[in-house]
Amino acid sequence: MGTYTGEAIGVQKRSRKVALWMTIVLMNVWVPILMLLETVVGIAISPVLLVVWLLVTRWPLARIVRHFIWMYGRVWLWIVSPFVRLRLTGAEPGRLVQPSIYVANHLSFFDIFFLSAMPVFDVVICLRSWPFKLAWYAPFMRFAQYVDVERLPWEQIVQKMGQIFDDGCSVLLFPQGHRSRDGRLGRFYSGAFKLAVQFQVPIIPVCISGTNRMLPPGRRWMAPTDVQLEYLEPVGLTGFQTALGHIELRKHVKRLMGACLAKNRC
């Protein structure tokens, strides 16, 4: 469990356990309450902010809403910061070319929140259908043009993507399709990689570690932990132009991510 075990030198074992449980209780009170507060306030002031943003920035609506979502994520990071030590590597703005396809492994419900730690906000996230059913988030997701990959047929997805890339916007996908229950990578679906080859957009692999310790699939309470987000070098598309090039690209990216995650876990 990262920071709070083992590496605290010179602390008696018993009081360390007590301290840990107190922190867990505190976290499960502090975080949900503040998240609720943030969400309610955020929804309430968003129309006003929207008008302000429109006037000042003159951005298209979708971009503004993506900015709001990113700011919401940033505030959330602040809310969990007493309990989560976040390490971000490889996310220097110069490295994160636009547009690109971010490909991340999926361990926890909170992965998307952590991803707002990166300096780029103009990203369309592709998700399965269930998050779109969360009534308080759904309108924002739709205005931000998030894509429901479970419901939409491939041709429509491709059409939307074309539009998104033309707008200079990036895309984020989880090629595992669902949260990993054993922490392993398992099978990668080919969609993200097919898009990369089709639109000649580079892949930026994102390796997420530790979020599963915070809230693993199946558990209902959060625990304090270290989280690491490592952004690997953008993967270019040379050498992946054959008929099954996207499969080779998928395997290549999976290998890079597997190696990175294995090292970060140690």
Binding site: A259, K263, R265
Partner: protein
């Protein structure tokens, strides 16, 4: 680093570490082992199988919990006894960490050097029970031999991973793991191979425990308090606790790692192995001293550059003391020393590689692990700087020793900081 032999200089290549894999009594994976070591946990338990054996005085052991072997193709798995399965799972982790492609694995320049102290004892027992009972070999399955032969681990890994390069299967009792890594490093240094998957694996069996028990070397005073043994260096130590597992490491030439842009985790700087002819069961300090000095010479480092020493120290009264005498003679009393046997027991052929992995992580994390169950060292051992608590210290270069039954000594020097160029 030049090796002068009859006036001819052979330039040796530098050998780096790019992948780690482990199956230990703490479970599968290097993270599980590291976290358990940092938490200071013990994997030693009461072992009912041992308790049921007549004449066996120890009933504690450190066994690997049930592993999921589904990731290994059934057709390959049928030739594998437990030790090979452990080795394979560890190898898969190491290969994944190194990010090696199938092409990089399956060419003539990638080899395997993995050993175990003996072929599968479990299978040997079952075969002989069969043969002796029936006085016939009709019950012998085709898969039996491949599990019993002493190269079983190496052969199975090569088959399952599609290895085409060198297949080496050294066997040198408890020093097997370190020797396998050392020999693999030399294959690469000499330019014979570019990538080597190396390490050691062993499975727990009554026979192995029985050997130590017969030699009066197994721990018997703590059968009711398993986690308090073994007790390396401790005044109250009383012997070895047998364990099992696998430790695998991917070694590569520096050029090969750079060319494929691999993350480099450390470097194998030097390695030495020698024989101790004075006593087959217990090496004396002189041969240990010679071994450590030679390892330093091979590595081209002075003794003052070793910031941490991982001792073999299994918890035997004689062995720990002799090792401490040897360490003091070479390094003096300042170098921090600890043994990891107190946490995991003696994992036999795996221990050399597992201790190397743990030492490497200590270098990376700037955190030195203490010896578990060390409450009060005896007078001779106590002269050294034996760690009893986690110590935050940034160390660049470390040495790991293994001194084995059969009069074999081995020492390896590694560096964890990629600074030289």
């Amino acid at each position: 680093m030049d090796f002068n032999r009859n006036e001819i200089s052979v330039p040796l290549r530098r050998v780096v570490i790019t992948g780690l894999g482990a199956v230990t009594p703490f479970g599968c994976g290097v993270p599980a082992m590291w976290q358990a070591l940092v938490d200071g946990r013990s994997a030693v338990r009461h072992c009912p199988t041992l308790a049921g054996v007549k004449g066996l005085r120890t009933t504690v052991a450190a066994g690997v919990p049930e592993v999921d072997a589904q990731s290994i193709d059934r057709k390959k798995r049928r030739y594998m006894s437990k030790m090979s399965i452990y080795a394979m799972i560890a190898a898969q982790e190491a290969v994944q960490m190194a990010g090696l492609t199938p092409e990089q694995l399956q060419n003539d320049r990638t080899g395997v050097c993995v050993g175990s102290t003996t072929g599968s004892t479990v299978e040997t027992e079952s075969l002989f029970l069969q043969v002796l009972k029936e006085r016939s070999i009709e019950g012998m399955k085709s898969t039996h031999f491949f599990k019993i032969m002493s190269s079983s681990c190496a052969a199975n890994l090569a088959q399952a991973l599609g290895i085409r390069g060198r297949l080496l299967a050294p066997s040198a009792a408890c020093a097997t793991g370190t020797i396998a890594v050392g020999l693999a490093a030399e294959s690469i240094a000499l330019g014979k191979q570019d990538v080597m998957i190396c390490g050691g694996a062993d499975e727990l069996h009554v026979l192995t425990v029985g050997v130590f028990d017969t030699l009066e070397a197994s721990s018997r005073a703590y059968n009711d308090r398993p986690e308090m043994t073994p007790r390396p260096f401790d005044r109250q130590r009383d012997g070895i606790v047998c364990g099992e597992g696998a430790g695998l490491v991917i070694l590569e030439s520096l050029e090969h790692a750079r060319a494929r842009k691999a993350d480099i985790l450390g470097e194998v700087c030097g390695f030495a192995v020698n024989s101790a002819p004075e006593d087959i069961a217990n090496p004396g300090p002189d041969s240990m001293i010679r071994c450590m000095i030679q390892a330093l010479a091979e590595a081209g480092v002075g003794k003052e550059q070793i910031g941490y020493l991982n001792a073999h120290a299994t918890g035997t009264i004689q062995g720990d003391m002799t090792e401490c005498q040897a360490i003091e003679s070479v390094f003096g009393r300042d170098v921090p020393v600890s043994s990891l046997k107190g946490h995991m027991g003696h994992t036999m052929a795996a221990c050399g590689a597992l201790e190397l992995i743990a030492t490497l992580l200590m270098l990376h994390r700037g955190l030195l692990l203490p010896t578990r169950n060390l409450e009060e060292p005896d007078d001779i051992c106590g002269r050294l700087n034996l760690l009893t608590e986690l110590a935050r210290r940034q160390v660049d270069t470390a040495m790991s020793n293994n001194f084995a039954l059969g009069g074999v000594n081995s020492a390896i020097v590694i560096s964890g900081r990629w600074i030289r160029d």
